[in-house]
């Protein structure tokens, strides 16, 4: 085709969009950059929200944190919808194979009853915790400012739904697809005394109005304690007693958390470094929620791991402290 031959030599007039070039220079930009930066409308708003007339539809005042440029809160994974979805499809494919293997070999159903009871008591109720996390990330994605942070928060919200459904599948692996495990786990979540403190904190997060505080509470503090406690400490505790059958299906959760923590840490670190005011705010939130979740998890750790519970939780808390210190917060 003559056209194609001719066009090989044609130099483009510009390499990217104007707003991208102003940020990163007049050069070819990545799909993450073109698909993310300056995507949220900034000005010339038309109507006052019927649901919050005191503020604008998008409004920086929905958090006390202040940023000169909210797009500084970028995602180090550079997830836009396409790269995110393709990555998750691939991971899900691998996970499906693990789950399939676990089902065929009855890895969970062949565990002793006590081990199964631990799974149903300690892990399956966390599907409700994940649903709560979904709601909270969705909140940040709704009321946050700028496509960089809200995009990552929303893709994360979908991850939380996926995690909730994965935990549900673990329950179904145990109960042979009857769904009894899910009913039991919900009852545990709603009524078991050792689970009530954490449910209380999750419900408190639902009425937290500052979306950045909520991100700190959920993704940095709560997840920073819950994930290593259950998917490392409990997982290891179970492996010592009953072998690694459970680990084959639980491994996914901690991998997910390790990946997501890269985003969380980048966001928090950047916001903390922006100003002493931001640092003080985030420090206050981190401290307050950390105390609350530690207290809430304490009876649960003990209920699951008995005498080992307190040490496990302490180890998790120490690790969180080290992580906070790296982000510019108090350990």
């Amino acid at each position: 085709m003559t056209v194609e031959i001719r066009t090989q030599a044609i130099k483009p007039l510009r390499n990217t969009f104007g707003h991208i070039a102003r940020r990163f220079g007049e050069k070819t930009a990545s799909r993450y950059q073109e698909g993310t930066y300056d995507l949220q409308t900034e000005t010339n708003r038309h109507y006052k929200p019927l649901w919050e007339p005191e503020l604008d539809i998008y409004d920086k005042r929905r958090t006390a944190v202040q940023m000169k440029d909210w797009y500084a809160l970028k995602d180090p994974r550079q997830f836009y919808y396409g790269s995110y979805t393709i990555a998750r499809a691939k991971q899900q494919d691998a996970l499906d194979r693990q789950m399939d293997f676990a089902e065929k070999r009855e890895l969970l159903r062949s565990l002793p009853e006590a081990a199964q009871q631990t799974i149903l008591f300690a892990l399956v109720p966390l599907r409700h915790y994940e649903w709560g996390a979904n709601m909270n990330q969705c909140y940040a994605a709704s009321y946050g400012w700028g496509a960089a942070i809200t995009q990552a928060a929303m893709l994360g919200a979908m991850d939380r739904l996926g995690n909730a459904q994965h935990l549900s599948r673990i329950g179904l692996l145990v109960d042979g697809n009857t769904g009894h495990s899910l009913a039991q786990a919900k009852d545990t979540w709603l009524t078991h005394p050792d689970w009530q403190p954490i449910r209380r904190e999750v419900e408190r997060s639902f009425v937290t109005r500052d979306w950045f505080e909520l991100l700190v509470a959920q993704t940095l503090i709560a997840d920073g304690l819950v994930y290593p406690l259950f998917y490392q400490q409990v997982d290891a505790w179970m492996a010592r007693r009953h072998g690694v059958g459970l680990a084959t299906v639980l491994d996914h959760m901690m991998r997910w958390q390790d990946e997501t923590a890269k985003w969380v840490d980048a966001v928090i670190k950047t916001a903390v470094a922006e100003s002493p005011e931001n640092r003080a705010l985030i420090q206050g939130w981190a401290q307050q929620w950390r105390g609350a979740f530690l207290n809430a998890l304490s009876p649960l750790a003990e209920a699951v791991m008995g005498a080992d519970g307190a040490a496990a939780l302490a180890a998790v808390n120490t690790a969180l402290g080290a992580r906070l210190a790296k982000l510019g917060l108090e350990a």
């Binding site: 006052k48 019927l50 007339p53």
Partner: protein
């Protein structure tokens, strides 16, 4: 009917009140059956401008390119204000002619109904 909002007292800002137009008011204006001008126009005008000045000085800048414009006999033109017929006093101001901020006037020119029988 009125709006249903989360709390009583919901009200948007009045974005286009006259105080925001630097001593001008704005006026919507349309020449019926002359769809070469596919939309009515909106212009800022001082409220004290005599109606005659609007016709003689402003309208030529809006519609002067139309070949029928020069043929208009203004004494026969018919005027509508808020889509109701009215008779303007050319020597009086827009304000005194009841043409306030964000008024909308139309004029018709009997015998001059656009070009090609197609209201161009």
């Amino acid at each position: 009917m009125s709006v249903t909002a989360i709390r009583p007292g919901y009200h948007g800002d009045m974005k286009d009140t006259v105080d925001k137009f630097h001593a001008n008011q704005i006026l919507g204006i349309s020449w019926d059956k002359h769809l070469m001008y596919a939309t009515p126009m909106c212009i800022p005008v001082p409220p004290q401008m005599p109606f005659g000045a609007l016709v003689e000085q402003v309208l030529p800048t809006l519609f002067g390119q139309h070949p029928q414009f020069a043929q208009i006999d203004w004494s026969k033109a018919e005027w509508l204000r808020s889509d109701e017929p009215f008779t303007p006093a050319f020597d009086k101001s827009l304000a005194d002619n009841g043409i306030g901020h964000k008024a909308y006037i139309r004029f018709r020119t009997p015998g001059l109904e656009g070009l090609s029988g197609a209201s161009i």
